[in-house]
Structure formats: structure tokens, C-alpha cells
Point group: C3
Chain length 172, copies 3
Amino acid sequence: MTEEVKAREEVKTAEKEKMTIVVFSGELDKTIAAFIIATTGASMGMEVTMFFTFWGLNILKKNEGAAGGKGLMGKMMNLLNRGGSKRLKLSKFHMFGMGTGMMKQFMKNNRLPSIEEFIVMAKEMGVAMIPCSTSCGIMGLDKDSFRSDVELMAGAAYFLNEARQSKVSLFI
Amino acid sequence: MTEEVKAREEVKTAEKEKMTIVVFSGELDKTIAAFIIATTGASMGMEVTMFFTFWGLNILKKNEGAAGGKGLMGKMMNLLNRGGSKRLKLSKFHMFGMGTGMMKQFMKNNRLPSIEEFIVMAKEMGVAMIPCSTSCGIMGLDKDSFRSDVELMAGAAYFLNEARQSKVSLFI
Amino acid sequence: MTEEVKAREEVKTAEKEKMTIVVFSGELDKTIAAFIIATTGASMGMEVTMFFTFWGLNILKKNEGAAGGKGLMGKMMNLLNRGGSKRLKLSKFHMFGMGTGMMKQFMKNNRLPSIEEFIVMAKEMGVAMIPCSTSCGIMGLDKDSFRSDVELMAGAAYFLNEARQSKVSLFI
């Protein structure tokens, strides 16, 4: 763990650095990885932007209420692809919920936050969480589909401008 | 959308910057994401290289004619893994073509180009689209397997030299 | 191939540059891609760190002996998710082993190392291969689960400190 402490010290002494993460996949495991990296970066003093696109938009969808979606086709698609931070599944070994349930139990045992807690925590730490407006169109979504703490929506040009200024850019 | 315009302005005033994208997955959704990022970058004045590898090679395969592939095993593999910009499938909800068809309809409704149109557009904007010669060997492919507008093929060292000079490198 | 040689020359004359790769997926195809990029980078004189996390931890698990895992649930999970460099599967076309076997044959025909050989080779070339301690907890693993040539384990802060100093960072 001294390696970890050293790493944190090195970053804190550096000037404010940026990190940009594209969250493309809405799977539970990749979402955990994205939030661990994002919140660790923020705790090290980095300025972090998470850019949610395609299936990653599911993570920021409302947990309650209607499934959302524009038009009849949008509604159909979003009924199928329900979303919400509590409904994410593993990319492997989902096994009708057994594998996903086991992973959630492991997260608890290791005192790791749930995705819902990660979102709130990231928000408090100043991580910018932005739904990609371009893929909202493709996925039949609009602003009302998302949780109320989502403010800004932006497109690919906004993402690229952040990424080109970032020390670290990842596509997850 | 003013955020978008601002972002574009900031990049254009900067000197010519590079972006390198590894396109590993040949799935429709990830391919759309890769081309949106690549063409947006090019429209902002960036010098973009897309490096197609493994299943991503499917995107640049010929749409017509034989499936290609070297040797008997190569031919078998490429018959199974047919490829071509018009045959890509969603990573989820393909559902025997229904989900994939729905996504293509959404792309049309949102005036988003098809993958075929994206390839032509990217080419015109000066995006370099390069099949990875190393993975061509593994996938049993040669130059004849690809569309005629593919010129250069190159290996991992070429990619890394581009990536190390790039402001943004993504593995999609 | 002259392009390749030129690329290698350009990097060698540059000062020592870093590359950091997150290996999240434990699938055979993505693992091959990660090791081709890592060993090519090392052969070009780059200082390469591979950070294994989630399913990527499977790659560094022991090939022989017990499946490992802490506690009853950890043991159950790791029996299911056996791991070891020789047990990786393709992300597509696994087809009960037929597709995976075909890919391994293609690797041999193209004189590409197996994953087991890649690990030994990367080690000899000085590539740092580090299991992520945070995801070890989530996956129910500890140091004993890994091959004996694994030395250091580290968390997300260590990874981020490497990544922010790197010319190229990839999430595979």
C-alpha cells in the first residue's frame, strides 16, 4: 500500500490535470471499473469528466418511473433496454442474475460502493457526468430519460476538446 | 449546442493535433462510436488515424464477391465471419436482426450516416484507415480481402509510433 | 514493412517513453492484442506497464493446482471462472472450443507466440505485469491465486500515476 500512497503524493504535487473517460458499455463490471478510476482520479486531485454514450447512457437513466424514450420506437427500445443504476448486469456469468448478485455481494463485502452510491459520490467529488447528445438520438432518449442530477448534455466535439487536454483518456 | 461550437473553436486555433483509434470490435454500435469520434476529430482539424484490427477488420472487408481468406482454414473462417460494412451487428439486442434493424432505422431518423457512408466520408476528410497487418495473419486475411479504397497496411509498430505522437488514443 | 522499420527508428531515438495498458477483458483475442501492443512497445524501447483487472486477472492465474479464491463464495466463483493463460476463450465464435482452437492454430501458423509464451517474453523484455489489488477483492482473489512470477500488486492510484506519465494509455 505504500506504492499507492506514493502514487497519490506524486499526483497531488503536480498541477491540476485532466482525465476523460468514455463510458460506452452499460455492463456492471465495466461500470465499476470506470467509477473506481474516476473517483480515484478525483481523490488524487484530477479534474475528471465521464462521457456516457450508447449503452453507458443506461447508467444515468432514472431508476423509477417510465422507461422513457422519444416516439413509439424509442419507447419500445427503452422498455427492452430498461437501464437505471440498479439494473446493470455483468458482461459474463450473469446467469439469470446469480452471477450479478454474487458480484454485488463481493462489492459489499469489500466495502465497495454500489453504482448508485458511486454516482452520488462522484458527483460530490466534482466529477462531471455528461450524457452524449449524439448517441441519445440514436438510442431514442432525451433529457427527461435521465436522473434529475444530470445537468449538461454534450456531443462528440465537446468530448474531443476535453480529451485532447487530458493526461489520460480511456474508452471503457 | 454553444458548448459544441466553443469546443470546435478551441481546437481549430490550436496547431495540428493527432488522434489514433484502434478499432478492435466489428460490432455495429462500437463502429458507429468510432466513426463519430474520428469524423468529428477530422472536422475539428485533427489528423486522425483509424487502425483496424481483429474483428474490426470486418468493417473494411468487401461487401460483394467472395468472403476472402488465405488457405482452406482462412476461407472457412471468413465464410463464418463474413464482414463488410453492411453486415455489422449490434453487440447486444441483435435479436436475429430486429435490434440491429431498429438501430439502423434510428440512425436514419437522426440523419446519421450508415457505416458505408461513414467510410466514404472519413476517407474524403483525410482520415487514414489502416488494416493491421499482424492481425490479418491471425484472421487469415490478405490485401485482396479489403475494399479497393484501402491502400496502406501496417503493423503494431506503426500504430504505436502514431499513438505516442497523439493527443488522444483510444482502443474501441 | 519499411513503414514499420521507420516507426521503430523514430521511437528508439526518442527518450524513454511510457505506455500503460489496462487489461480488463480475459478473452483470448483481446489478450493477444494487448500482448502484441505491449511487447512491440517494449521492443521499441518503451517502458510498458500492463495493469490486469477484473476478467483480465484470469490471464495471470495459475494454470495448475486449485482454482484459488478467498472464502466459500470466492472458491465457488473461481471454480466457475477458472482462468490461467491456457484457458482463455474468444469473445466471439468460441463455439464449444472450435473457433478458439482455430484461432490458436492461426497463431501458430503465423509464428505468433501463445499467451503463455507472451507472458514469459513480456517478463523478459521488462514489461511490468501488475494485478489490480482493488478488483482482486471484488473477484475473491489473493496473491496465492496468481503465477509465481507475479511480484507487485497495486491499486487504481498506482495505475493512474503511471497513466498520467504515459504517452499512450489504453483500456483493453
